[in-house]
């Protein structure tokens, strides 16, 4: 109950932020451009809704990070955390409530963006599919929520908003760009060009929460795939990315002096 009250308050507060309105606007514009680009500029290949995933996932990762990185350290610095913890809420309620509140905001942001752009998609796509579009949006919500958790964990574990800000920038760069880039470099420079890509490489790719859904089926590996490339392991990866950062951050937050 306490957790949901904190979540509701946080949602009410965050959803009124002008910065959020600007972020939703920018995201929608980006999505509109990307949809146009994917469906009209690449006539040689058949484009489907899922081709929008990779670039949207990067944008969603950045949005999740933006929503999370200041959520707790900001309240700690301003002093509103004293107001919050003057009430019968525990520090655990605050961490979880904030996470749920901000996760709800990222869900709303992504859905608003895609709903606005859906008309655009319906017109541009050769064979628009509502199911494919909905699957795309649903899949994107996962990294959205995971990046809220990671950034929020960073925010709970730090005393200074400056450190949290730099942390957020590093997180966004690592997950949205550096991880993919490094893997691409390994693939093209170090792996033998003719041989099949080794399973461990797929696992490392998949450990990035953006690519949690890559499994034996999407890779068309048949029945020979190890357990960590089975579909259910995606759930383990996502759960790990949610629980480990939030758990560690909670332990630090629980022990620290807030004033």
């Amino acid at each position: 109950m306490s957790i949901l009250l904190v979540a509701k308050k946080d949602f009410q507060d965050a959803i009124r932020s002008l910065t959020l309105v600007a972020v939703v606007g920018a995201f929608t514009a980006f999505l509109a451009f990307k949809t146009y680009f994917e469906f009209t500029m690449t006539p040689m290949t058949t484009t489907t809704a899922s081709d929008l995933y990779q670039s949207s996932a990067n944008a969603v990762a950045v949005i999740g990070t933006l929503l999370g990185y200041k959520s707790i350290v900001g309240e700690r610095e301003s002093g509103s955390l004293k107001f919050l913890l003057g009430m019968p809420h525990t520090r655990r309620d605050v961490v979880l409530g904030k996470f749920i509140g901000r996760a709800a905001v990222v869900v709303v942001t992504v859905i608003v963006g895609f709903v606005v752009v859906s008309a655009h998609y319906a017109v541009l796509a050769d064979s628009p599919s509502l199911t494919a579009y909905a699957v795309l949006v649903g899949k994107l919500l996962v990294p959205g929520v995971v990046f809220v958790a990671i950034a929020l964990a960073f925010s709970a574990a730090n005393r200074s908003a400056m450190v949290a800000t730099w942390g957020a920038i590093v997180l966004a760069i690592v997950f949205a760009f550096a991880w993919d880039t490094v893997l691409n470099m390994i693939e093209s420079l170090m792996l033998p060009p003719d041989a099949a890509i080794p399973n461990w490489f797929h696992l490392v790719t998949r450990l990035n929460p953006k690519f949690f859904y890559i499994d034996a089926n999407t890779l068309e590996l048949g029945n020979s795939a190890p357990f960590y490339l089975e579909p259910w392991f995606g759930g383990v990866i996502v759960a790990g990315w949610l629980l480990i950062p939030l758990g560690l951050a909670y332990l630090l937050f629980e022990r620290s002096d807030l004033a």
Binding site: Q12, G79, K82, F83, L85, G86
Partner: protein
């Protein structure tokens, strides 16, 4: 059982000791004024009571609950007006009140509370547009939600004009009449004097006085500073005066003798000086007021040490 009981409370930040082995008991139903200059450690103590920070050593019980182990039970029964707090700029006064009413599972009416703290006409405005005084009133309102058994108010008159500070004291009285214990910190004696049953004075992390206002006043006002101008100060005179009853301090220059003594000992002192061979040419009497005493603590420009000595002596008599 005390509403607040701290024993051996110590808080260190590295080498800096903010609070040193503090023992404090606040009885249930009292209005306790927690006085001290800025930086004396008042907020540190309050932050420990509310588990915002963890003491380095010592035990605190609030309303019979362990302040660190049973935080939730403490928060359920305590209304808090912290120092250095902030509100949620984008939420209205009503949303703040509603949030805390829901959090406490209380059935208060947000409008009635807003009315009580004087922000009824601004209840639907965003708290970010409130003045400092209005924010303070809103926060006081949130502290009143759910009829708490204990109110902890850290410098509650911050940002309030004299009228607002007066209204705040009225609310403290009403809450006390209802049966609540009020723990009220301030660096201004006048804020506390009018409403508090008891005061504790904190200086550099140590409680240097704990008494009722009347008790402090009596202790201080019974003391007189007698300054005597004499023709000379014979060798035996000072020792003779020191030997008298009810004398706390004697000092002398070439032609003046300064004596701190009980009010009715002053004639005995003068006679003793004459007997010792000095001729009294003139004398002056000065009483120490509660305000003088407190200023000695709160005003950094006046000698804090002398104030410290003064009250230690006063209180050990």
């Amino acid at each position: 059982m005390g509403a607040i009981e701290a024993s051996g409370l110590t808080k260190q930040y590295g080498d800096v000791t903010a609070v040193a082995a503090l023992d404090l008991v606040v009885d249930e139903g009292t209005v306790f004024g927690f006085l001290g200059p800025n930086g004396a450690g008042k907020s540190t103590v309050i932050n420990c009571l509310l588990d915002y920070i963890r003491p380095t050593e010592g035990q605190i019980s609030v309303l019979g609950y362990d302040a660190q182990g049973e935080t939730l039970a403490v928060r359920k029964r305590t209304g808090v007006l912290p120092q250095g707090f902030d509100v949620y700029d984008r939420l209205t006064g009503r949303q703040h009140l509603k949030f805390i009413i829901d959090s406490n599972g209380a059935d208060d009416d947000p409008e009635a509370i807003a009315e009580r703290v004087g922000i009824a006409d601004a209840i639907d405005r965003r708290a970010g547009d409130y003045s400092r005084g209005m924010t303070q009133r809103l926060m006081l309102g949130t502290a009143l939600v759910g009829q708490p058994d204990l109110l902890i108010l850290d410098e509650p008159s911050t940002g309030l004009d004299p009228e607002g500070a007066h209204e705040m004291r009225e609310i403290v009285r009403e809450e006390s009449d209802r049966g609540a214990t009020v723990f009220f910190s301030s660096h201004i004696l006048g804020q506390v004097e009018a409403v508090c049953d008891e005061v504790g004075i904190l200086q550099a992390g140590t409680l240097v006085a704990e008494d009722t206002i009347d008790g402090l006043r009596n202790a201080i006002e019974a003391e007189t500073t007698l300054t005597v101008t004499v023709d000379r100060v014979p060798n035996a005179a000072l020792a003779a005066v020191r030997a008298l009853a009810d004398i706390s301090e004697v000092s002398a220059t070439d032609t003046t003798v300064t004596v701190q003594c009980a009010d009715d000992a002053k004639m005995t002192v003068l006679r003793k000086l004459e007997t010792a061979g000095a001729t009294v040419e003139d004398f002056e009497l000065a009483k120490t007021s509660l305000e003088d005493l407190f200023l000695a603590y709160t005003d950094d420009e006046t000698g804090v040490t002398s104030g410290h000595d003064q009250i230690s002596e006063v209180l050990t008599q």
